[in-house]
């Protein structure tokens, strides 16, 4: 029995760059992220505008492209208010704590294969680690501190509730998100991002691992606090959420953090599920050189922009879910489904490694189906019983309340008190003549 060899982990090409190349790469990532934030803001507002029958920003620069810059400048010169009862140090530290980790995640994002920069062969990626994807998760967790501390330090109930919500939400969705990665790791056999991109040379994981991909798409929206999961800053209920009390550059930092986080999850979805920097199928078939040199950066950015568009599209189309519904979706749907899917993937991998025969396959698949059917049947029975119990309880309550209206502990005003029996009530109770016939009589007369 030979073990199936998964993608070999070869990270020898990383960590050998000279210092000037590292500086260039770091600068590139920083500029890329800041530019992507500005462009995403612009694109978001223009696309939303189109979807909402209006124009969107079109005054600053060609097509309003400089609107983001203008907004940034405006925020910068605004008065920096520090409310009286804030915890000053934490209040100042929080925006930095929120935005710094957001930038770090992009260090492991592969933009392309090996290229030559000033005669130096290097990967288009700042660095790679044997646990690169875990770094992204770790940084996302660090970012939550910024939100929580902002909510806490602001000394306002709205901010506090927003901070609490965002920490609970990001943590819950991170679990589901991490579980979707497990399937990818099982398939790719590595946690390094460049290794995962290599493993998708023939088929994207978005196709092979559709359930994982779909769950990831949901969790990435939850992770970045965007509509329909933007509860931490739901302006209808919590005004601005954790950043209610922030102004000027500190507010801009939160804004930046949100958009950089979006960039990170988009980049991650491209890397883990959409084939990374590899050209999509028809292009690479027609044009063999599409995956060499600097071209892959174009494919990466194109895919990146498409995922970003989904964020914008969702924002135009969706209302906000309620907090408990969000938690229910995360814990009761996404996580269990992810776990079951991981078990399925693991079983399939194990069978494939063991070079199982057709009979074994059939037996395993049959057993799985049978187990699913039995579970479904039991679930249905239990649900029916619960429903019946609820109905009887309800009827019982009605009976008690009918006999003694105050039994529910609620002060019930008398229904027939003198001032209630007005014309409205009489009009309601009186038998009403058929409108159709009376209307005819009027016209007839």
């Amino acid at each position: 029995m030979s073990t199936h060899v998964l993608a070999a982990e070869d990270l020898s090409g990383f960590g050998t760059d000279p210092w000037w190349l590292i500086v260039i790469k770091v600068l590139f990532i920083f500029v890329f992220l800041v530019l992507s934030v500005l462009l995403t803001m612009w694109a978001e507002r223009r696309i939303l505008g189109r979807m909402q029958l209006r124009l969107g920003p079109n005054r600053h620069g060609p097509f309003g492209l400089l609107q983001g810059l203008a907004d940034g400048l405006k925020l910068g010169v605004k008065e920096d208010l520090v409310p009286k009862n804030v915890d000053k140090w934490v209040y100042i530290l929080a925006p930095a704590a929120a935005s710094a980790p957001a930038f770090i995640s992009f260090a492991i994002m592969p933009f392309g294969p090996q290229v030559s920069i000033f005669g130096h062969q290097t990967h288009l990626q700042l660095t790679d680690l044997p646990v690169a994807v875990l770094l992204v998760l770790a940084m996302a967790s660090m970012g939550v501190y910024g939100f929580v501390l902002a909510g806490w330090a602001s000394g306002s109930p709205f901010a506090l509730l927003g901070g609490l919500r965002s920490s609970a939400q990001v943590i819950s969705y991170e679990i589901a998100m991490a579980l979707t990665f497990v399937a990818v790791f099982l398939y790719a056999g590595t946690l390094s991002t460049s290794g995962i991109v290599d493993a998708q040379e023939r088929l994207w994981f978005a196709v092979v691992l559709i359930p994982s991909f779909l769950i990831y798409m949901v969790t990435m929206v939850g992770e970045t606090n965007r509509i329909p999961f933007d509860l931490p800053e739901g302006e209808g209920e919590l005004v601005g959420g954790y950043h209610t009390e922030y102004s000027s550059m500190k507010f801009a930092m939160f804004f930046l953090a949100e958009y950089v986080n979006m960039s990170t999850v988009c980049g991650l979805s491209v890397t883990l599920f959409l084939g990374g920097w590899r050209a999509p199928a028809p292009i690479s078939t027609i044009w063999p050189d599409a995956n060499t040199g600097w071209w892959p950066m174009l494919w990466f950015i194109a895919k990146f922009a498409m995922v970003m568009f989904i964020f914008i599209w969702l924002r135009a189309a969706m209302p906000r879910v309620r907090y408990d519904q969000l938690m229910k979706l995360g814990w009761k749907v996404l996580i269990p489904v992810s776990i079951v899917w991981i078990i399925v993937v693991a079983t399939m991998r194990a069978l494939r490694n063991a070079e199982a025969t057709t009979t074994t396959w059939l037996v395993v698949v049959g057993a799985g189906l049978a187990a699913a059917l039995v579970a479904l049947y039991l679930w249905d029975r239990a649900a029916e019983k619960r429903r019946e119990a609820k109905e009887t309880a309800k009827e019982q309550e009605f009976a008690t309340l009918k006999a003694k209206p105050t039994a529910g502990g609620f002060p019930v005003p008398p229904l027939r008190a003198a001032h209630y029996g007005s014309a409205v009530r009489d009009a309601l109770e009186a038998p009403r003549p058929e409108r159709g016939t009376s209307a005819k009589e009027v016209t007839g007369a």
Partner: protein, 394 residues
Amino acid sequence: MDISERTVGVGAGAAQTGDAVSAKDMATEDMVLNIGPQHPSTHGVLRLRLRLDGEQIVSAEPIVGYMHRGAEKLFEVRDYRQIVVLANRHDWLSAFANELGVVLAVERMLGMEVPERATWARTLLAELNRVLNHLMFLGSYPLEMGAITPIFYAFTEREYLQAVMEEVSGGRMHYMFNRVGGLKEELPAGWTGRARATVAEVRHGMVRVEEIIHGNEIFRARTRGVGVLTREQILQYGVSGPIARASGVDFDLRRDEPYLAYGELGDVLRVVTRTEGDCHARFSCLLDQVAVSLNLADACLDRLEALPPGPINQRLPKVLKAPEGHVYQWTENPLGLNGYFLVSRGEKTPWRMKLRSASFNNVQVLKELLPGNLVADMIAILGSMFFVVGDIDK
């Protein structure tokens, strides 16, 4: 003589006086959250004092009056022409319907007959005003739930309708088109045709509004079974309008005590009701009412075009005095019952004019409706009560 000092507060104020705060509020660990008077979900300056246990509301109290402008007192020092200006402002989304109540009351006091053209034109404009009002809430309610697109769809339609209203009256919000005895002036030539085209346009646009939000899974999950108002609560608190009809209270003055030309529109006027009484029912009531109002507008336009030319108002004396007596005139405003109780002593100003506004009664029920819900549901419920703060505070 011994002197003692006592702080006395009534109603909402009582809980806020010094002693009461220490006695009542400090004893509990619940968080007190003030929603408003400046808060994005209150459309103005309604203030809600919520006591929260985590995110659950333990008690809620609407604190009204931040926008009290003393309209009733001001009515007493204005003559009947000036009152119209003032009266159309309390509910700024139903200006036409507000004016209408005043002039109908005065006309009833005077026993004045209004030209038929005026009656039909008033009915038409009242229905267009109803659509304008409803479109506002059809857009703003989803906005409060986080859906930002529907309000732009709704406002696109509002814009078409406002152009029509503007052409006829010169106003986009405060039309000032009603006069005692009729309307200010004849409708512009060719206006009925343009109005008809606009009604068709809006009817078409409503499909878009409905499709984007009404069937949305998240929207349903957030509104179904949330904030259920019972028939009893409706009757006890005097809740009216689409909110009452969403709870199965089948009461609409247009049908049950017809004024204007509604008596002759019986076959077009369908009173929209729902039985669930939840936020979703209230929203869909509003949605269907727009369709009915558009049908009514079409019917009115048919009638107006068929009517022979004639006067649209009455010649009034220089000094208009209502005879001694009193009258209560209520109308089915877009948001509910709007009544004017007019007491005259035969002078050119009313001795007293009491205003019964729909929103004032409608928001009172929040006190009973909100406890037990989550803060997020509070938004869904508050938005679905369709109120205008000016209409609450008068």
